[in-house]
Symmetry: C2
Subunit: 513 residues, 2 copies
């Protein structure tokens, strides 16, 4: 695929290629066929390989990513100012479940050392989670977590961490509005995340709209030890702050005693629930990191595991490539329904999917959301899509699931945690210190410049694919091995080593009151 | 107003009274006229003073709070199940600026010791605020704040605190949607809060939608010392995490040097910008704490200061009592426009203002949002309404302003900070540990039971008004004195003493992408 001048053309039909050498290419450099570059072209940006007439199709990934706003001579820099964005693919009459390829060969023998839970799920960490029914109690929970970390945690060496699951929901919200189901089920399902070992504590206030008992994971209330998972600060028995904290510390200790008895055990790779995400993407995302992640995703699926890809506004323009991969009409229609829901949601707010691309995306060479989406879906590999879940819902099937979430990094991360993710893989071209307290996040750089500059923030460099040093499959296999190591606690991701964790941020399309 | 059996009737026309003794009243107790209580009535709930026929008006505050769903005999408990909620007052043809009362007598000679800023505003604290253009950087900012607090702050004894202004906005948002103006201006105006002394630091990522330089307060960029207020983590010069933190620590130190040179000086009470809020209300809120706050609000206005009351869904049903108090047509129309905007916003989400009341409100005796709103607006005292600002806007005038915010405690608090509030007064009947890191919050209990139980969380007990020990004016004057003490740093509020602070939570009615 590589051509002289360090450019990559993805698909045989493409009439643009991406400049992959770190410093860009100067005007006068040679194209593969010997023609000269007319403009200087920055790293990760596009070069016209042929003369493209005004209104002519601009092709990348073998797909139309736009139309030329003026004639673009061969060797020109095809910057965003020259590209008219196509309409989104219509959602009617998409081909559903039409791709009939033989199933990928199963992989056996891969394992990781995880914490097995009663419900059959497996944690990659052993965390005491302290959730809340309402933001009002956040100050108390933060104080509690600090004290637990200092005073209790050192006595329980098998517990990895104590994490405050604070959020902005719970009161001052239209809790009966139809869309309120999304933040509510998100909070309910987060308490069931496998990394919390069914030992989550819930701190309520007492007068809030969201009933704290609704956040209790199934099977938790009926504990034989009588330990209530919910403590309500307005309880008449609690005489002020010190009393509250004492009561909470007592409950926390009971949970820690049980969590501390848990040990990692060898589990098949089929117990992995891996979320895939990208953020701060550039035009290399779709060439290096995302295809490598797609390869690793296929390996996980072949090993019987679960993989989620997401980000509705970043799949919307590639939806015609995804519906054929769904396993049946019902899954295909669910995928279309999620797209349609989001189209309407954006329209109601007087926006559309073009609101997705960021200034950083554009500086990184992505002309528009079409080009971004085509690169984004590369993360999904080539497995069949076995299920579609709504935002905040729990994953239901092994294999590749589309989890319909916004593309916002921290919101997608929060919804993946609710879906039951025990590890996330995150690709980035521009760089972000993103991390999650509840699950390890492996950050993969699309380019070696970033990986080298952010040496202590990036876990894997996929930039070697652009230079031709490594193949997509090689980096994909490295990533798969790293996933097993991280899931086993043998390796720590950068974000965990540095303690860099983002807030839980809920997706609440319903009104605030 | 008090009658035997410890009940309070607010207005001469009322046909219900509120039981104010802590343990409620048993069936068989005597009413003022000697009649017997038919039911046992819980604390803060309503008793029918006369026979109310089916569909008859139920009157409290001299206003219709509902209609009897069945005939209610004298002496009955008028619980929410007996009350049909009235329609909201129509927004057309409201009387505007019709109340012509003589202005309240000016108060002179009241001062507090504050930190005077270049722009003329006055801080009640001297805080280094570290804001961000995007949630992505939250982990780095939290790490930074921890290090500043440990390593730098001890060397700068005149600086009260260092505060991370993390939030959920900045990327993954439809930044050009019309309603995006609300979160954007909120973040812009928060950096201008007087308690941050125009020394705010801004941490950006580099590829996010919200340009970090848009958050720089006016006058800040052009500093003669060349110290940029913005540091961007993706800057090519920053080689990884340790480099980032070192650069940030360096900038933080420069800000701390300047902040540390500031001293409190005597300022007239006219420099107070006090936000009023209630949360976890009960039926005593409108009898004790809120009227006392209203009295204090009038004192602040008489002293030339600025007061904001808020919470659209909690004034909507009392709007006909507020529009007459606006000073002119323009202010009156602005008030009506904010109500109409919120009506449409709730309707678009298939909700209405009745979504406001919480389970706690109802247990506390508030039958519906009409009764809650009539009690809520008591916080505004009787001063004329001189201005109306939209959510996230800065206050513009001395006197009483209506700041249109949701009623959500933490969102209203965040928007008050953006408006330029230097101190908040918060009334509560059910109790909340609510607090803000950027400004002191004085918490006033509506009842002595709460004030006594939460002895270390409540700053002032207005319950003595219900028992008849103190008058509304007495508690209002105590509160005014406490405001001056807290604004001067002579007294610390409970939330600050315990370090209990809520997150900044933005109001973003625009879509997520």
């Amino acid at each position: 695929m590589s051509v002289p001048g360090r450019m990559i053309k993805i698909h045989a039909d493409d009439n643009v290629a991406i400049v992959v050498n770190a410093e860009g290419l100067s005007a006068g450099s040679h194209l593969a066929d010997g023609a000269l570059l007319v403009d200087s072209v920055p790293h990760a940006h596009k070069v016209a390989l042929v003369d493209i007439p005004e209104n002519g199709e601009i092709l990348r990934y073998g797909e139309v990513i736009g139309y030329a706003l003026q004639s673009i001579p061969r060797g020109s820099w095809v910057h965003e100012g020259l590209v008219r964005m196509p309409e989104a693919p219509p959602l009617e009459e998409l081909p559903i479940a039409t791709r009939r390829t033989p199933p990928l060969e199963p992989l056996t023998g891969f394992t990781f050392d995880g914490y097995r839970n009663d419900d059959g799920s497996v944690g990659t960490k052993n965390i005491l989670g302290i959730s809340t029914s309402v933001q009002c109690v956040a100050g108390v929970v933060n104080h509690l977590v600090e004290r637990v970390r200092k005073e209790l945690l050192p006595r329980f060496p098998n517990v990895d961490d104590v994490v405050a699951l604070n959020h902005s929901y719970g009161c001052g919200v239209a809790i009966n509005a139809p869309a309120a189901i999304i933040p509510i089920r998100t909070l309910q399902n987060i308490t069931r995340n496998p990394n919390l070992g069914n030992e989550v504590m819930i701190v309520g206030l007492g007068c809030e709209k969201l009933d704290p008992f609704k956040l209790v994971p199934p099977g938790h209330v009926a504990r034989s030890d009588g330990c209530s998972p919910v403590l309500t600060l307005q309880d008449a028995g609690l005489k002020g702050f010190n009393d509250m904290v004492a009561a909470l510390m007592d409950v926390a200790e009971q949970h820690l005693v049980r969590l501390d008895q848990r040990r990692r055990q060898s589990c098949p790779a089929s117990e992995l629930v891996v979320g895939l995400q990208c953020g701060g993407s550039d035009a290399l995302s779709g060439i290096t990191a995302n295809p490598a992640v797609g390869h690793a995703a296929d390996l996980i699926v072949r090993a019987g595991g679960s993989v989620m890809f997401s980000e509705v506004t970043e799949v919307r323009d590639a939806i015609h490539l995804l519906t054929p991969r769904t396993i049946d009409q019902s899954v295909g229609q669910a995928l279309v329904r999620e797209m349609a829901w989001y189209d309407r949601y954006l329209q109601a707010g007087e926006a559309d999917r073009s609101a997705n691309t960021t200034p950083g995306n554009k500086q990184g060479g992505l002309a528009n959301i079409v080009e971004k989406a085509l690169g984004s879906v590369a993360k999904s590999g080539c497995s069949p899509i076995v299920d579609v879940i709504g935002p905040g819902e729990r994953i239901r099937r092994k294999g590749l699931t589309f989890a319909a979430t916004p593309a916002s990094d921290f919101i997608c991360g929060t919804l993946h945690l609710a879906a039951g993710m025990n590890l996330q893989v995150f690709t980035t071209g521009r760089g972000t210190p993103y991390g999650l307290a509840m699950a390890p996040v492996i950050k993969v750089a699309t380019n070696s410049t970033l990986a080298q500059r952010w040496h202590d923030l990036i876990d894997l460099d996929a930039g070697s694919i652009a230079t031709g040093e490594k193949s997509i499959a090689q980096v994909g296999e490295e990533l798969f091995a790293l996933i097993l190591d991280v899931a086993s606690g043998r390796k720590r991701v950068c974000a965990d080593r540095l303690g860099l964790h983002n807030d839980l941020v809920l997706f609440n399309p319903a009104p605030i009151t």
